[in-house]
Each structure stands twice: as C-alpha cells, then as structure tokens.
Point group: C2
Chain length 285, copies 2
Amino acid sequence: MLIKTINELREYLQPYRADNNTIGLVPTMGALHNGHLSLIKAAKGMCDRVVVSVFVNPIQFGPKEDYNKYPRTLDADYDLCTKNGVDVVFSPTPEEMYGKGFILSNDNLTYVCPPFNYTDKLCGKSRVGHFDGVCTVVNKLFNIVQPNFAFFGEKDAQQLIIIKKMVKDLNIPVEIIPCPIVREASGLALSSRNKYLSEEGKKQALVLSKILNNIKSCYDKGIKDVNLLKETAFSFLNDNVELEYLEIFNSETLEPQEVADSSSRAFIACRVEGVRLIDNIKLGA
Amino acid sequence: MLIKTINELREYLQPYRADNNTIGLVPTMGALHNGHLSLIKAAKGMCDRVVVSVFVNPIQFGPKEDYNKYPRTLDADYDLCTKNGVDVVFSPTPEEMYGKGFILSNDNLTYVCPPFNYTDKLCGKSRVGHFDGVCTVVNKLFNIVQPNFAFFGEKDAQQLIIIKKMVKDLNIPVEIIPCPIVREASGLALSSRNKYLSEEGKKQALVLSKILNNIKSCYDKGIKDVNLLKETAFSFLNDNVELEYLEIFNSETLEPQEVADSSSRAFIACRVEGVRLIDNIKLGA
C-alpha cells in the first residue's frame, strides 16, 4: 500500500499496534537497490508489519549538494517493495513532513542535534549540518511509525553510529538493526549515487573497496599502526580518484586511534567523476 | 510506587500499554506545590495510569544558576503524589538519565534544539541553552514513559509553547495538556522558587501579578497599543523589584506584536531578593 500522509499511516498502523504486532521501519531516500532490499528482507524476517519510507529529506542536503538531482524512482521503488512483501510504502511530500511554506532552518524548526564529537569528522566535516538533518528526520519517522525495529545499512556507517547514539541518548524505544554492506560482484558498494557514474567511473570507483580490503589484509597480517595502515592506500590512488578522507576510528565512538584493534573501522570517501562515494570496513572479526 | 530506573519504569508500564491503558505524564523538578497538584488532578481525570517524574535536570541550568541549591523534597513529593492517586513517582539520578561519568555538553550528548525564533527572547535571552536542556529531557521522558498525555503548567509559558512546537515539529505522539496558573490568594503565582523568598519578598513579588492584571484591565478597556500597555507597568516598579523583561507576544508563535489582540500574552520576569520570578497572562478571552 502507498501512503502519503502522516495521519493515514498512523491510522493504518494503529490497530496492528493495539494488537501488539511488531512493526519494522526501513527508512530510505528511495532509488532502491539490492542494499535496500537486504534491509527489507531483514525487516520481513523480524517484524509482523514492515514500513518502508521513501523520502528525499531536504534538510540533510547542503545548499551545494544534489537534493534536486537526487534520483527519484517511486514507481520502481513501490514495485520492488510490494514484490518483497512490504506492507506500506510511506512517501510523504516535504510539505507533509515540514509544513506548508516551510523554511528549513533552526530559526523555525526544532532540530535533533547529535554530538559534535560524532559529527566533526568523516562526512560531517564536508557536510556541515548533514547529520542534524538526518537525526531530525529519523526522529520524526520514529515518532510517526513508532516501530519496534528500524533497519539501517552499514554502508553509511557514520550515520548508523550517530543514530545508535541518538537512540541511546534520547532513550528512544526503537531497536536499531545494522545490516551489512551489499556489493556488486566487482566489490563496489551499492549506492543510489552510483547511478551518476559512467561505466568507466564505476571501474574507477573500485579504488574505494580495494583500499579498504588492502587495509583489512594488512591488519589481519599484523600491521596495527594506523598511520602505516592508511599509507597503504596511496598506491591505489590516481588522478581519476580524489580522496576526501581515509580514517581508522573506533567503530562505536568514532574516536581516533593510533593503534588499530578489534573495535576499529576504516572509513573512506572519494570523488569519482564528481560523484561523492563512501565505503567502510570493520577491521576486527 | 517509587521507581528510580528507566528499565523498571518501562517494565512497570509495559503491561498497561499492551492493555491499551492511557498513560499520563506530569514532568516536574519536584518541590511539588498546589500548581503541580492541579496538573496531577488533570492527569488523574484523563488517564488510566499517572506517572509523575521528579528530576532536577542538570542540563537546563546555566553554570551560574541554582542547580545545586534547587529545593529537593522527594519524601514530601512522594507523599503528595500517593495521596493524590499517582501510580508512579519516577525519580532517576542524573547518572541514570545521562550515563555514568556524564559530561553535559553537545560534544558528547545528542540534544533536542528548539528553534532560535522561540528561544532568543524572554527567559531564553538570559538563560542561554536552557530550552535545549528542557526539550532534551522532556523528549527523553516522553521516550521513556511513552505517555498519551503530558501535563504542563501555563506558568512556564515559554516552556509550554516551545514543547508544543517540539511535539509538532518532531511528530511526537503525545498530546500536550496545558493547565492554568495556580496562584496564592494574594495573586502570587505558585513556584518552587518562592521558597527562596522571605515574607517581605513574597509581598514585593506581588508586583508581577499586579503589572499583568493591570495590563489585562487596560487591554479589556480598549488599549491595544503594545508600547502603551507595557508603559503601564512603570508605576508598579520600585527599588526592590528588578525588571528583567516585560513583553507582549503572540501566545503560540512568540512573535512580537505592535498591537495586542486575542492571540496576545503578556510575559514578565523580575528579580526579588535575588530570586528570579516569572509570570504571564493571556490578554484575549
């Protein structure tokens, strides 16, 4: 079922909740791919009712980012969802989410602001305010759907870590279920933004997963010094790939580490053909 | 029943919620007086289960404010609650709410931040960050208790307006029930901070309600010019009463007004014997 308004969604869910059915939420920005499908399958396996939200959230895009250009494929998304047993696709307009004539700024809107220690690094460094926008919309979706479980991909690892922190800090009664990154056979992590890449660009983009896999091999072979591990990346880089960051941090707290251990995760962001791509890998088992 | 931990409270409430009982929350900082009692009575009248939280929230006090000195009277609060049919008094420690070794700053904690247009005036002007602290703890309490209704006094009018805005902006599934200011026979609005006043100070403090009542009479007599209405206050002031602010704003949006109308509310803050007191009155019917 396709539902576009908050009230209709609440009315739909109310009897299931009253009946103590478990509700799963898969929050997405649409342009669904097999990565999203893995979240949907995890939700179907755990919950009586599954809601997939499809909402390109304006407040998590910076003024120079791709909000207008971001792929919108609701018909295909809806088909994929119904074929995979999703009960509701919730696809509100920005006006439904933020009110008519909304002006998106903290002058007029209550924001949920994750801690600076989690947002002043990695993607947060170049995307100022991005995670405030993410936490605000996820908080809203949690309040609208009131799910028992919510499913997030490990591909957006910083987002997942920040949402888990938000849930803990605000005592949100939702259990966050992290789902592993889904990759093409080539190793490229699935992303809605891969649609922006040419075939050649997709080949260039393999540099991200190659760098991460190499760091993981080196770690497994006993190299634990973070600077040494990061230096192994240089041989993979070339003029077609612009490195934004490569970091090894604690996977729960995002604290920098000098020596990698089983808590560590390597995070990378690059631009290929002007498209910003991210990937990450856990170093411990 | 007195409950001190989040898990115990959730366990207590779970079967009632599963049974579709309605739950009412009265969030307080303790030092309960007849103003709080009116909230409890309203909650008892509307809800199957009533929870009163008693928590002096460290993150809503500024570094120079009265957090340590704030009156703590849990035994008396608990008696008042049980005598008036409250089911649970929830009185967590700061560690229970914010974690062990907590450091209260947006470096480490997810905050809920109400819009600047609502916080850059009235009490927010002198109490920077106060309403971020209020919204964060109220959001946490809502997530912990998951009440159907929550009861707030109109005494803290800016707080009430900001919480209503938060509930709307974040789609929080809680209905906010505003309750009228309770006053002593003298006209003094009840406040936990009245305990700091001497008998003489309580007499001086009547200036607040006198100024507000006079503005309301003038408004009723046809004076609508906001500056004129505010000027009527001067004759009441004296050296014992230090005026912090006197404003007439829209009662929902806190927007300044030049001409008062039925949407208007007059807000006042003064210091008497060093104690900061606030009061307000709705001008329309």
